[in-house]
Amino acid sequence: MIDIKKVKEEAQREVYEEKMKEAKAKVKKKMQELESAKVIVKNLERELEDIYATISEGV
């Protein structure tokens, strides 16, 4: 005899887990993009600092 209640619970849990997985993947992807963008900004800041230093050295 199959326990319908148990099946429903399990199915619901799996649906929830799938949704969680999808959400996590989305968040992860966006975080990675954000990290990349931060690296780019950091690089630009470094370039700016380098320009300041170069100017102050009279180069």
Binding site: E33, S36, E47, T54
Partner: protein, 212 residues
């Protein structure tokens, strides 16, 4: 604050002052506006590429006077807007407006006006001259001629945000490498400058063997 009409048509009014006459008095749109007159023009049927006729109405709220130049003048856009506008101004090719009707607060002027949409033909205008750069462009440069053969389709490779970010980073890489090298040299120089000065000790070995 009046809403001045925007666009090509209204610009003629700001190009240079147009003279306004009234029974021996002479003034111009700019001077009148500066003296507190509120100006309004009515555009009449025109040939859009060339110009149009217009009438002037104005009021001086403080004095309670309303004036109306019933006789329309020709506005030649080509003359007013083109590069020889200065010459045109000298020759007074546009205007003057001649005021025919003047009433005070106790009277009014009744006109037959045609409504188009929600606005009257009369529109408030700004008579303050406006400097507008006019470029001398060749007809060929205007690119007004349509090509007969259809333009080949420009294909832009589809790129996602992560790909573009990676591409930007790769473009930054050579510069970053240079900067790192320079920073290393700077650090080395600074370390050298900051290093404590070690006193040089000069030692001299003297042998005492001969003094026995």
């Amino acid at each position: 604050m009046p809403q001045f009409p925007r666009g090509y048509d209204s610009l003629f009014f700001q190009s240079r002052p147009i003279e306004v006459y009234f029974k021996g008095f002479r003034s111009d749109t700019r001077t009148l506006q500066a003296a507190g007159w509120q100006l309004s023009i009515e555009q009449q049927e025109n040939t859009p590429y060339r110009g149009y006729k217009c009438r002037l109405a104005m009021q001086h709220v403080e004095s309670g006077i309303l004036m109306y130049a019933h006789e329309p003048i020709d506005i030649d856009l080509e003359v007013v807007m083109c590069s020889y506008v200065v010459e045109a101004a000298k020759r007074q090719l546009t205007g003057p407006f001649t005021v025919q009707h003047v009433v005070t607060n106790h009277h009014d002027i009744h006109l037959h006006v045609v409504r188009s949409g929600s606005r009257f033909n009369f529109q408030a205008v700004d008579a303050e001259p406006l400097m507008m750069p006019v470029d001398n462009v060749s007809l060929r440069d205007l690119c007004v001629f349509r090509t007969i053969t259809p333009d080949s389709e420009i294909l832009v490779p589809p790129q996602s945000v992560p790909e573009l970010l990676a591409h930007i980073q790769s473009l930054q890489d050579p510069k970053q490498k240079e900067i790192r090298e320079r920073n290393k040299k700077r650090d080395a120089r600074e370390r050298l400058n900051d290093a404590p000065k070690i006193a040089r000790v000069e030692a001299q070995i003297i042998t005492l063997a001969g003094y026995r």
